[in-house]
């Protein structure tokens, strides 16, 4: 049975239903949107249950011809990596919708319609196994997010939205060109046209075009991650986006970049991956340290969290490009962890923003006294973000650093300084917001978080500890997928090297033969 299609399209169908609800019935709109999100979540749980944790390769696959003349297939399938990202997406969507309950007062319908379309796009990206389909979902996500930032954002929302779109579009276009190149190349290789990722992966590509293709894909994905120095759109987008937008942006959209690397760029271009390891690893280490340092001096909590994302996603990238089982599995878990922790941080910031309509750190202070429950949640999430053991953040960061250390001692050493810096910027911010006396009279009357807000935070806190203490269910499900990616890269490179060795030998033989021939020729002429 096809489980993935209903999962992908449930939110889209919901969005269409919402379009028929009169705009004024805001409560109905919210209710419907929430129900749709919950249905999607339940569907994702079915998918989780159907998933065979021991099975290697793609599961729950659907593969039907779509546009036969162009060789485009409606090809879906998931492995452990996509599975976890899908569940993360459906969970965060519910929480993002709940968090918008009071804060979105204008254009309610458009907002929730955008949210639901966005959800379909995100799940689609994680399920697509046809590059054409992948590209469509990739672009579909862009539009609702553009609206979310551009319409429901802060004062500089238009600037931020355009910056976000321009950066992403730039990457997407490069990716499109690369996809088309692959498409035609495959035709000359196998005689048929296809966008099928699994087939394209089997095609040998000469080293030079491989480099260019890798760069094209890598740029598209690196902008999304965002990897230093392509990160400058992120703080603007986050600061201007509404809470729900930030949650989805940080929680899921950034993962599209790292997901793209592990799903497409790395297995499809294994030689180029190997070539670019040092460059990407160094950029990742720069991102880790740079993001943390710049975080430290931010005045706005949201931009602090945004720069911290640059640092954390640097960890994920470093893990992926350490190319060993420990680090890559750590990186995959860390993708989930970052979604949980940073999602929770943005939700928390949104809660105090709703009350005070400011996010400047200096405006707060002493919240521990007036909002103790909020402060306790904030503390737990902060600890998860700085990777305290027994929270989710530690498990991922530790494995990444362990693996990076093996790949290259200095990557491990420099990246590990990020652990110190994370404590600096987070604790300093927490101190200025929560500790101290209430000095600003506006903070005196703040009310602690209500039940709706607690219900939003509790699942994330449960996940923080669950993954921190018992990550086995996650590791079990990602293990085969990661092993396969690494094995594929190794095998292809191995085969290639063998081929090259054979080539060299034949070349040498030929040269040798040529030489002797010349000799004989010379002899003959003599």
């Amino acid at each position: 049975m096809d489980w993935l299609t209903p999962l992908i399209f449930a939110p889209l169908v919901g969005a269409i239903i919402l379009a028929f609800v009169p705009s004024k019935q805001t409560e109905t709109i919210k209710g419907v949107a929430l129900i749709i999100a919950i249905i999607t979540f339940i569907l994702s749980l079915f998918v989780y249950a159907q998933f065979d944790k021991l099975g290697a390769g793609m599961q729950l696959t659907v593969n039907v011809p779509w546009i036969t003349s162009l060789g485009i297939h409606y090809h879906l399938g998931i492995d452990g990596i996509s599975l976890l990202l899908i569940v993360l997406t459906t969970v965060l969507t519910i929480l993002a919708i709940l968090s918008s309950w009071r804060s979105i007062t204008e254009g309610v319908k458009g907002f929730f319609v955008s949210m639901l379309i966005l959800t379909s796009g995100m799940i689609g990206v994680f399920c697509a196994l046809d590059l054409f389909l992948f590209y469509i979902f990739w672009e579909v996500m862009l539009i609702p997010m553009y609206f979310l930032i551009g319409i429901w954002g802060g004062p500089r929302r238009v600037y931020a939205a355009i910056k976000f779109v321009l950066f992403t579009m730039f990457g997407s276009l490069l990716m499109l060109v690369a996809i088309l190149y692959l498409y035609f190349q495959y035709h000359s290789f196998a005689g048929v046209y296809t966008f099928d990722m699994l087939k394209l992966m089997q095609m040998p590509i000469a080293i030079n075009p491989q480099h260019w293709l890798f760069v094209a894909f890598a740029l598209a994905f690196a902008i999304k991650v965002p990897l230093w120095p392509f990160h400058t759109w992120l703080p603007d987008a986050h600061v201007q986006a509404p809470t729900a937008g930030s949650v989805i942006l940080a929680g899921v959209l950034l993962k599209m970049g790292t997901y793209g690397f592990i799903r497409i760029a790395m297995p499809m271009f294994p030689d180029a991956t190997a070539t670019f390891v040092p460059y990407i690893a160094i950029l990742s280490v720069i991102a880790i340290i740079y993001g943390a340092l710049v975080s430290m001096v931010q005045k706005d909590i949201k931009s602090l969290v945004a720069f911290s994302s640059v640092s954390h996603m640097g960890f994920v990238m470093l893990g992926l490009f350490a190319l060993n089982q420990e680090a890559v599995q750590g990186a995959v878990i860390q993708m989930i962890n970052h979604g949980i922790s940073t999602g929770a941080l943005f939700l928390l910031v949104g809660m105090i923003y709703e009350r005070r309509h400011t996010r400047l750190i200096a405006e707060f202070g002493g919240l521990g006294k007036v909002m103790p429950v909020f402060s306790a949640f904030f503390m737990i999430v902060m600890l998860s973000s700085i990777g305290l053991p027994f929270t989710n953040g530690f498990v991922g960061e530790f494995l990444i650093l362990l693996g990076a250390f093996k790949a290259n001692v200095w990557y491990g050493v420099f990246a590990a300084t990020g652990v110190i810096l994370a404590a600096c910027y987070m604790l300093w911010m927490y101190q200025r917001v929560v500790f101290g006396k209430v000095t600003n009279p506006e903070n005196e009357k703040l009310t602690d978080i209500n039940w709706r807000e607690r219900i939003i935070l509790i699942p994330l806190v449960v996940l923080i500890f669950f993954i921190g203490i018992y990550p086995t269910p996650l590791f079990e499900r990602t293990e085969p997928a990661v092993r396969q990616v690494i094995a594929h890269i190794e095998q292809t490179r191995q085969a290639k090297q063998d081929l090259e060795r054979i080539d060299e030998r034949t070349l040498a033989l030929r040269e040798g033969a040529g030489l002797s021939q010349k000799v004989t020729e010379k002899g003959v002429t003599r």
Binding site: L176, V177, L180, Y181, F184, Q185, S188, P209, W212, P229, T232, Y290, L293, V294, M296, V297, Q298, N324, Q325, E326, Q329, G330, G366, G368, K369, P372, L383, L388, P389, F390, V395, F398, L399, L401, L402, G403, F405, K406, G412, V413, A416, T417, V419, I420, A423, C424, L427, W428, Q431, V434, F435, G436, K437, I469, Y470, P471, T472, F475, E479
Partner: protein
């Protein structure tokens, strides 16, 4: 019985969960009952398991309990598993025993605090973390406890978070500890990639085969682990957080910053003794840092006027002794001093807390004096602890400190210079401790009238733990008497399977050989006792008999005094060389690299493209068909370039 091992850490965790989740909903007596009973039960269980362990033959003294797999990825595998052996048995008895007394004391000390529940929740969380640290069967789970106690320390130092100084101190403690943890992490990486496991038993068994003794890798691993220890156990250069940590409630200082958490580094090194024995260079560094810290902190302690600060520097100094012991490969002596120090230093802090309680929260010794008659129990117990830390024969501190000094002198890893530094420090210790006693309890009453009228001896809940600890401070040393007294050193024998394992035979033989001639040992012991007694009389002269002489002396050496009172300006030095450059550098990265360079480049591209499009504007006819044609053509050209180019 052994299947109950995991309840030892779990009980305090349950206490934390009950008090933490029902915060503000439980009445105070219930809160304190939950907190004290959970730790008390843990102590009883520890005792039972200790006796079970003792009933086993020495070589088989090991109880291990594996709960479940924690992290397994690739070749990496780590369990949540606990290991009770002679070393961890000593530690859990100290942690739960002293911890229980401090919990009871806290019910009295914190009685008036409105955040009673939060306090006890944190205290239980701390006990859980500390027990996890010492019971872990692998480095990574130990690291969980290691960071966990750091977190609790952060939370409890900043317990009164409305005070800026308190939250600053908490943050400082956490960050400085993180710097140490950075070293710990890297040390673990080396061990894992070399041995393929982080489990203590496997590592200690495999290490001799996997590392080259004395080689660069093992030395690096040991030194990196030691960086972790300098953070947690407040040694040079990372000791700076501990004096500031005195911002926390006094029972916290007693539990975390004297008796248990700060000794974690010593425990970790004793636990890894096999590794350190393979890295003599690392051992030497440990010994030198230990001795230097012991001396350095003691000199600062001479000039402090805050009663808790004196004790804080004293703790740093005593921890230095423990590292000195480890550094000369006398791990047993280090752990022995760890235990006796836990008794007398916890007592000193709790007694100081009793004084502060009586003095209406004043901590400056210059405003005290003559408290002896108001606080008889506090005075007696504190005096006993002071005699113990000074090393007066017959009390616990004498035995443990003497053993360290002797090992520093006689061990093949020792040196007479190390002994000399330890010896002088013993004199300084006796001096600053008696200075504290005389300034606080003797002489003129210097407090104001209002404070004097409120002075009272502390309630039972506080004095009973004081008396219990006083008893331990007296008798605690008799289990580890030196061989020259013609008795068995039970403590050394008990720890032998762990810290004198197969890898240590050579060292212990050398020690035995060096100990053959006892006259030197007697002479050194006598010398240090004499020095201590002289130091006490000097303190008595300056701070009891002739206080004016002390003032005159201070004026004469005002430069020295300022230097010491300002703690050698180390904090200021770190601020100028580390903190400020980082903050300024970060501002530069943000304001210049991010905004000017990166965004500037992109905006520049945008401007260029706008100018170009100004020209190309005329191309725009507004017809979608034309756009589509151009777009498709462009894509085709690109693709064609890639295919045929």
């Amino acid at each position: 019985m052994s299947e109950y091992l995991f309840w030892i850490p779990l009980l305090p965790l349950l206490g934390f969960l009950i008090n933490g989740l029902l915060l503000g909903k439980l009445p105070r007596p219930v809160v304190s009952a939950v907190a004290c009973v959970s730790v008390g039960l843990s102590f009883v269980l520890s005792l039972l398991l200790f006796f079970e362990l003792r009933s086993l033959p020495p070589a088989a003294r090991e109880i291990e309990q594996v709960l479940f797999t924690w992290i397994a990825a690739g070749s990496f595998h780590v369990d949540i598993a606990f290991l009770l052996d002679p070393l961890s048995a000593v530690m859990i008895l100290v942690v739960t025993g002293v911890g229980f007394l401090i919990h009871v004391y806290s019910t009295g000390y914190m009685h008036h605090d409105k955040d009673f529940g939060r306090y006890f929740a944190y205290l239980n969380l701390f006990t859980f973390s500390m027990l996890t640290l010492v019971l872990a069967n692998n480095f990574l789970l130990m690291f969980v406890g290691w960071e966990g106690v750091g977190l609790c320390s952060y939370l409890l130092i900043g317990f009164w978070f409305h005070k800026k100084s308190a939250s600053d101190a908490g943050k400082k403690a956490f960050i400085v500890n993180r710097i140490g943890d950075f070293g710990f992490l890297l040390g673990m990486f080396i061990i894992f990639w070399q041995v393929g496991s982080l489990e203590f038993k496997t590592v200690m068994e495999q290490a001799p085969a996997m590392f080259v003794a004395g080689g660069g890798l093992i030395t690096a691993a040991c030194l990196l682990l030691f960086v972790g220890a300098t953070g947690k156990s407040a040694q040079i250069p990372l000791y700076v957080w501990l004096p500031d940590a005195m911002e926390g409630p006094t029972p916290v200082s007693a539990l975390i910053h004297a008796a248990t958490m700060v000794t974690a580094g010593v425990y970790m090194i004793a636990r890894s003794s096999v590794l350190y024995m393979m890295a003599p260079d690392a051992l030497m560094v440990v010994a030198i840092i230990g001795a230097a810290t012991a001396f350095f902190a003691a000199t600062i302690g001479l000039a402090q006027n805050d009663i808790k600060r004196v004790l804080a520097y004293s703790t740093v100094s005593q921890l230095g002794y423990m590292f000195l012991a480890c550094g000369v490969a006398a791990f047993g002596a280090g752990i022995f001093h760890l235990m006796t120090h836990a008794f007398f230093k916890a007592l000193l802090f709790l007694a100081a807390g009793s004084v502060i309680h009586a003095m209406s929260e004043k901590q400056d010794m210059r405003e005290m004096g003559g408290l002896k008659k108001y606080l008889p129990i506090t005075y007696m117990t504190m005096l006993i602890a002071t005699l113990a830390i000074a090393g007066i024969p017959g009390l616990s501190g004498f035995f443990s400190k003497d053993e360290i000094l002797w090992k520093a002198f006689s061990s093949q890893h020792g040196h007479w210079l190390l002994w000399l530094v330890g010896f002088i420090t013993a004199g300084l210790t006796a001096f600053y401790m008696f200075r504290l006693i005389y300034m606080t309890f003797h002489g003129k009453e210097r407090m104001d009238e209002h404070t004097r009228s409120h002075i009272h001896e502390s309630p039972r809940s506080m004095t009973v733990p004081l008396m219990a600890l006083a008893v331990l401070s007296v008798i605690g040393g008799y289990i580890g008497m030196p061989h020259i007294f013609g008795v068995t050193n039970y403590f050394e024998e008990w720890l032998a399977p762990v810290v004198h394992g197969p890898g240590h035979q050579a060292a212990s033989h050398a020690l035995a050989a060096a100990g053959a001639d006892t006259s030197m040992e007697w002479a050194l012991m006598a010398a240090s006792v004499i020095l201590v007694i002289i130091a006490i009389f000097v303190a008595r002269h300056f701070y009891n008999k002739k206080p004016e002489a002390a003032t005159a002396m201070a004026e004469k050496m005002s430069g020295m005094k300022t230097l010491l009172a300002n703690k050698y300006y180390v904090d200021e030095f770190y601020g100028a060389t580390v903190v400020r450059p980082i903050v300024n550098g970060s501002l530069f990265l943000w304001k210049f690299v991010d905004v000017v360079i990166i965004d500037g480049t992109i905006n520049g591209l945008a401007v260029i493209s706008r100018d170009i499009s100004e020209v190309l504007r005329y191309v725009q006819g507004g017809k979608v068909r034309n756009y589509a044609t151009v777009f498709v053509a462009g894509v085709i050209v690109l693709v064609a370039y890639f295919i045929f180019g």
